[in-house]
C-alpha cells in the first residue's frame, strides 16, 4: 500500500523538480499503475483492513479530493465511474479496475493531506509535512529544514522495516529509494518554494491527468494560475460567460450547464470574495499582533494558535463511508445543530432547502421518470425538438450541475456569514477552538453531502441513459462527479479562509477577558 502511495507521489515530485515535458512524465506514471508495483499493495490489503474499506469507497474519495488529486480519471475516464460500473456491469473489466482502485483509494487519502494543504489558501506547510510524516506512522515534531531531510530518511527507513514485514514481496530497494526521494524532495520544495511549490506539483499532476481526459481540461484551466480561489472561479465564470455569449445565437439554454455561471448566479462568487476579504484582513491583524508581542506572551499565543490550526486540519473523510441514505432530516438536523454550536446567528435554512429541493427532484425522478421528464423540461426550458430520451439525461445533468453550484454557493455563504458574525464579536459562549472543530465537522458534512448528492444524480443518469451510448452518457456522469469534486474543494478552501478569522477572534477574546 505504502509503496504504491509513495511511489506515485514520488513520480509527481520528481517531475515537478525537473519541470520537464509532460509526455515522458505520463508514460512514467502509467507503468506504475499497471506494472508490478501494486502487487505489494494487493498483498498488504489483506493485512490492512482499512485498505479494503477504502477500495470499496473509492468514488467517494475521488469526490472529496481536490481536483488535482484525481489521477484515476486521468488514466482512464471510466475510472471515475466505478459505482455505476460496479453495480451495473459486474465482471466487466473487473480485474483491471479493482487493482488500481485499491492503490488509488489509498493514494487519495494519503495524498489528501498534502494536496489539500498545497492548494488550500491558508493551510500551513508545516502541517502538511507533519501530516505526511504522521501518516508514515512516526511521530516527529515540526522539523527544521535541515532536520527534515535526515528525519525523513529515518522515517522512510522505518516504513521500510514495516513494509518488509507486511509484504515481503516488495523489493526493498526499488520501492524505498523512491520513497525517500519522494519525501526528501517534498521536504525540499516545502522549504524552498513553500506553498507555490506544492501547488505547482498539483498543477503538474493535473497536466498529466488532462492528457488522457479532455473533461479534465477545464479544471486544469481552473487551477492553473497562482491566484485566490475567487479569482480562479471568477475566471472560470468569465470564460463561460464568453462561451455562452457566443453560443447565444444558436442555443439559448446551454448556459444551464455552466457551473461557474450558476455559482455566480447564486452569489457564491460574491460571498467567496467577501470571505476572502475578511480572511485577508484578519490575517494582517494577526500578523501585526504577533509582531507586537514577544517573550512568554508570544510563545503562549503561538501555542494556542497552533492548537487552533490543528482543529482546522480536516479529519479523515474515509471513516464511516457506507452509512449512506441517512434520510432527509438528518442532514438538515446535523447542519442546524452544527450552526447552533457555532453560537452565531447565521442560518442554514437556505442551504438545507437547496439540498432538499435537489433530493425531492431526484425522488420524483425515481418514482416517475416519465413525468419527471416533462417537469424538468418545463423547469429548465430545454429544447423539445430533440428525442425525449436525450433531453432527459441532459436535463438531469443540467439539474445536477445546478444543484451542486447552488449548494456550494450556499455553503460558502454560510461560511462567510459565520466569519462576519465571529468577527462581529460580542460575548463568546464558545471558544475559537470549539468553533474550529464545529466548522471542520461542518465542512465534512457538506462535502459528504455533495458526494452523496452526486451519486444520486449519477444513478439517475445511468437509469435514464440505459439506452444511451457510453460516449454520450459517460461524459455527463464524469462532469457531475467532477463538479462535485470541485465543489468539495471550493468548500474546503473556503473553510481554510476561516482560520485567520478564528485566530483573530481567539486573540481578541483573550485580550478582552482579563479586562472584563
Amino acid at each position: 500500500m505504502w509503496a504504491t502511495a509513495f511511489r506515485l507521489r514520488g513520480n509527481d515530485l520528481v517531475m515537478s523538480d525537473k519541470d520537464d515535458i509532460e509526455t515522458p512524465v505520463k508514460t512514467e506514471v502509467a507503468p506504475v499503475l499497471e506494472g508490478g508495483d501494486y502487487e505489494p499493495a494487493e498483498k498488504s490489503e489483506s493485512v490492512n483492513p482499512s485498505a479494503k474499506l477504502q477500495s470499496k469507497s473509492e468514488p467517494v474519495v475521488s469526490t472529496r479530493k481536490r481536483p488535482e488529486s484525481k489521477p484515476p480519471s486521468g488514466i482512464e475516464t471510466s475510472e471515475v465511474l466505478p459505482p455505476v460500473q460496479l453495480s451495473q456491469t459486474p465482471g466487466n473489466e473487473s480485474a483491471s479496475k479493482d487493482v488500481p482502485q485499491s492503490g488509488w483509494g489509498y493514494w487519495g487519502s494519503w495524498g489528501k493531506s498534502l494536496l489539500s494543504s498545497a492548494s488550500a489558501t491558508v493551510a500551513t506547510v508545516g502541517q502538511g509535512i507533519s501530516n505526511v510524516i504522521e501518516k508514515a506512522e512516526t511521530s516527529l515534531g515540526i522539523p527544521s529544514p535541515s532536520e527534515i531531510s535526515t528525519e525523513v530518511q529515518y522515517a522512510a527507513g522505518e516504513i521500510n522495516a514495516k513494509e518488509n514485514e507486511n509484504s515481503p514481496m516488495a523489493g526493498p530497494f526499488g520501492v524505498f529509494s523512491t520513497i525517500s526521494t519522494a519525501i526528501q524532495s517534498t521536504g525540499k520544495s516545502v522549504i524552498s518554494g513553500s506553498l507555490d511549490a506544492l501547488e505547482f506539483i498539483g498543477k503538474k499532476t493535473m497536466d498529466v491527468i488532462a492528457e488522457g481526459d479532455p473533461g479534465f481540461k477545464r479544471t486544469k484551466g481552473l487551477m492553473y494560475r497562482n491566484s485566490t480561489l475567487s479569482q480562479v472561479l471568477r475566471e472560470a465564470k468569465e470564460k463561460e460567460e464568453l462561451q455562452s455569449a457566443s453560443e447565444v445565437a444558436m442555443e439559448t439554454d446551454k448556459k444551464t450547464h455552466y457551473y461557474g455561471l450558476l455559482f455566480d448566479e447564486f452569489q457564491g462568487l460574491s460571498h467567496l470574495e467577501a470571505l476572502e476579504m475578511l480572511s485577508r484582513e484578519s490575517e494582517i491583524k494577526v500578523k501585526s499582533i504577533l509582531n507586537s508581542l514577544s517573550g512568554e506572551e508570544l510563545e503562549t499565543l503561538k501555542l494556542e494558535l497552533e492548537q487552533l490550526k490543528e482543529a482546522f486540519s480536516l479529519a479523515e473523510f474515509c471513516e464511516e463511508e457506507e452509512e449512506e441514505n441517512k434520510g432527509d432530516e438528518d442532514f438538515t438536523k446535523e447542519l442546524t445543530e452544527l450552526v447552533s454550536q457555532l453560537h452565531v446567528s447565521s442560518k442554514s435554512e437556505k442551504l438545507a432547502s437547496a439540498r432538499n429541493t435537489a433530493y425531492e427532484w431526484i425522488k420524483t425522478f425515481q418514482v416517475t421518470p416519465l413525468e419527471e421528464k416533462e417537469e424538468c423540461e418545463k423547469q429548465l426550458e430545454e429544447e423539445r425538438n430533440e428525442p425525449v430520451n436525450k433531453v432527459s439525461i441532459e436535463d438531469i445533468h443540467a439539474f445536477a450541475i445546478r444543484s451542486l453550484a447552488q449548494m456550494t454557493a450556499c455553503s460558502i455563504e454560510l461560511f462567510h456569514k459565520a466569519a462576519a458574525l465571529i468577527l462581529h464579536g460580542g460575548k463568546q459562549q464558545v471558544t475559537a477552538i470549539e468553533r474550529s472543530t464545529t466548522l471542520s465537522q461542518m465542512t465534512i458534512v457538506l462535502c459528504k453531502e455533495l458526494s452523496a448528492l452526486s451519486k444520486e444524480f449519477t444513478t439517475c443518469l445511468t437509469t435514464a441513459g440505459v439506452n444511451e451510448k457510453a460516449d454520450v452518457l459517460n461524459p455527463l456522469i464524469t462532469a457531475v462527479f467532477l463538479e462535485a469534486s470541485n465543489s468539495a474543494s471550493y468548500i474546503q478552501d473556503a473553510f481554510q479562509l476561516l482560520l485567520p478569522v478564528l485566530e483573530i477572534s481567539l486573540i481578541e477574546n483573550k485580550t478582552e477577558s482579563p479586562e472584563a
Binding site: 481540461k217 484582513e281 450541475i401 463538479e483
Partner: protein, 212 residues
C-alpha cells in the same frame, strides 16, 4: 448576459435608512417593508445600459449597524461606486454622514464615485432633513445627490444609473485604470469578445466533455 463592464458598488449608511430596500427595489422592483438585519454584507446584481453598452452592476449591500462597522470596512475595497444613504426623516442619520464619508474615502480608492441619497422621500410629512441640506452637503464634498423612495421606486433607478454614468464618464476620461481591478471595474466578455473569440472557441471545446 454579456456585458461590456462590471462595476462594483457598495451601499453604506446608518442602520434602518433603507439600504437593503433600495437594493431590492433596484434588482427585483419590489418593496419589502420588513427586513432581517443585514449581516456583514448581502449582494445583488443587475444589468443596465449606458451609451449602448451593457454594464453589470454588482452591488454590495453592507450592514449599517455600528457594531458591524469594522467588518463592513473590509468590504469597501475595490468598489467603483458607493451609495451613501441617509433617512430624510431621521436627522441623526444625516449627521453621521461625515463619519461614513471619512470611512469610505479611507478604505476605498480615491476615484470612487459617491452618490449621496436621501431616502424615504415618500414620507414628506415626517421630513427632518431638507432637500437643500442634502444638496449642500453633496456640493461641499463633491458628491452626486438625489432623494429617493425605495417604497415608491421614485429615483431609485436614476440613483444607480447616474452613478454608473459618472463612473463610465471617468473611464472615458481615463481617470479610472480599467485594468486595475482594485478600482472596482472589470471589462466584461462583450467588450473582450473581439480579441477573445479564439479563447471562446477553445472554451467551447473544453466544455464539450461536460455538456454535449
Amino acid at each position: 448576459m454579456a456585458y461590456a463592464y462590471l462595476f462594483k458598488y457598495i451601499i453604506i449608511g446608518d442602520t434602518g435608512v433603507g439600504k437593503s430596500c433600495l437594493l431590492l427595489q433596484f434588482t427585483d422592483k419590489r418593496f419589502q417593508p420588513v427586513h432581517d438585519l443585514t449581516i456583514g454584507v448581502e449582494f445583488g446584481a443587475r444589468m443596465i445600459t449606458i451609451d449602448g453598452k451593457q454594464i453589470k452592476l454588482q452591488i454590495w449591500d453592507t450592514a449599517g449597524q455600528e457594531s458591524f462597522r469594522s467588518i463592513t470596512r473590509s468590504y469597501y475595497r475595490g468598489a467603483a461606486g458607493a451609495l451613501l444613504v441617509y433617512d430624510i426623516t431621521r436627522r441623526d442619520t444625516f449627521n453621521h454622514l461625515t463619519t461614513w464619508l471619512e470611512d469610505a474615502r479611507q478604505h476605498s480608492n480615491s476615484n470612487m464615485v459617491i452618490m449621496l441619497i436621501g431616502n424615504k422621500s415618500d414620507l414628506e410629512s415626517r421630513r427632518e432633513v431638507k432637500k437643500e441640506e442634502g444638496e449642500a452637503f453633496a456640493r461641499e464634498h463633491g458628491l452626486i445627490f438625489m432623494e429617493t423612495s425605495a417604497k415608491t421606486a421614485s429615483n431609485v433607478e436614476e440613483a444607480f444609473i447616474n452613478t454608473a454614468k459618472e463612473i463610465y464618464e471617468k473611464i472615458q476620461e481615463g481617470v479610472f485604470d480599467i485594468n486595475n481591478e482594485a478600482n472596482g471595474i472589470k471589462i466584461g466578455p462583450q467588450h473582450a469578445a473581439t480579441n477573445a473569440t479564439h479563447t471562446g472557441n477553445q472554451g467551447g471545446q473544453q466544455a464539450g466533455g461536460g455538456c454535449c
